[in-house]
Symmetry: C2
Subunit: 319 residues, 2 copies
Amino acid sequence: MAFVGVDLGGTQLRVAVADDRGNLRTVVRRATEAARGRDHVIKRIVDAVKEAVEEDGTPPRRVRALGIGLPGPVDPAAGLVISPGNLPGFRNVPLNRILTRATGIPSFLHHDAHLAALGEHRRGAARGASEMIYVTVSTGIGAGILLGGELYAGAHGIAGEVGHIVLKPDGPLCTCGQRGDLESIASGTGIARAARELAPGTPGSALHGLEHPQAEDVVRAARAGDELATAILENAGTYLGIAMGTLVNLFNPQLIVLGGSVIKAGNFLLGPMRRSMNVSSWKAARRGLRIVRPALGDDVGLIGAVEYARLRARHARLA
Amino acid sequence: MAFVGVDLGGTQLRVAVADDRGNLRTVVRRATEAARGRDHVIKRIVDAVKEAVEEDGTPPRRVRALGIGLPGPVDPAAGLVISPGNLPGFRNVPLNRILTRATGIPSFLHHDAHLAALGEHRRGAARGASEMIYVTVSTGIGAGILLGGELYAGAHGIAGEVGHIVLKPDGPLCTCGQRGDLESIASGTGIARAARELAPGTPGSALHGLEHPQAEDVVRAARAGDELATAILENAGTYLGIAMGTLVNLFNPQLIVLGGSVIKAGNFLLGPMRRSMNVSSWKAARRGLRIVRPALGDDVGLIGAVEYARLRARHARLA
């Protein structure tokens, strides 16, 4: 018995074949080639799945289920990709049906950040946590929520859009069209934008004169003692802390797993985050709360997708 | 077979005896006399319960369970009252155990706003809604959340503190100690505070010269065309809309029940709320969302407490 996990991003497509217990056995990586459109991307997924199964040596009929994580919004219950920003042409695509038909494997899609949360819960830093939230802060900000130890998807699979809660109504414009949401301020994109806007007016800063300052440049400059860079990360951390406080007050979780490339800024970001979280949430709601780093690395999306395939196969067997 | 529901507020204490199907049969009302301290209040609850059962004519041994709602924070799983602001002396009180022993009826406490949500779900405006949030905006702002048709309480019963999510870090101080949370801006208390602060500097306003302007004065002045009053309600509605957007993006609910005395301000508040909610949440997350008024009146807390008693009795039977 085997399972397939697929992690579909705007840039990279990864496919894993895993054994009955969810251990990844064979992994295939491809460029997504998203710009070439929906049909091309779907063909690349199907080909990569077939290749991975063949390379793995598992007879296709012994593959029980396929889980695929991709950027939201998606509707997992309906098996629909709604309109992910970085996959042009994917609009209301019944991907479960398409993949099931093309691969012969019962296929189940979900939001990639939710599947990463599932992965950390089943095999990573959140094992045993009943109420847990996974937040990843990198180019964008994604999250997944498990309540009672199970994925929480909301009425239509759009729950957990932490990156898009509004914290500063007159703040910067986000790619989603909202103004002053968490992602517009505290993501890598938001930090880079702040540097781009503020550096030209700050001649003393190491960021001054950089043509396209990135989040990594800001972190590097902060480490070298740059005041502007430190202030930008402090602002990002403060708003990240308010968002964390909101999660704490609304969900009263036991555990928050906080990951993503931007978290590598360390205390320049996390110090202000902690202070601001503590004045933005109830003490009673923080009781027993642990905030930890993810335990799974780059494969978290693949591991989560495999775990989702196992979960759906189990549900099907019980139904 | 009968059930008892208790609604314990800082001012009023209400007790109901209900039949097997949850229909209220006998209701007893008392002043809480909170200022006289914990032991006195507990005695008043016990006496009122005994009186209500006697008045109802149900033999005490036929009362299956008692549900009691009171202001948070409480820990329903542990049966503990933690530290409700308006019930002095109640600090880490094991109320389940105390009431069970004193009344002879298995007793179960929960946060009053959560029980109101349960009441609206079982017998009011939210029947059949799987993911629903109940928000009540009056002196304070309370909320209760049902996910998968069941009360969501978080790790320690503190979930759903919508009134205390921070929306304006440099905003007014809330009674809870936080700054710029929803309650500090959009509750009756917040609206009255804004009037108190702004009216002295606005000689043309009908609020100018009022010694202690209340939220009702602001609503009345707005209806008469007062600009300051209209602006105060617009500001409150705008922040209420941001909070609603946050709920939508995080929980992706099917239904929000929005009640409380402040909502009676109507479109002065609800117009700005809708506009702001629509720019503070994802369209995909608002799909199919309904926002409705509560269907239950002042008895919502009692009805919810009775429903909670029925729920716990059912759980006990299944265990």
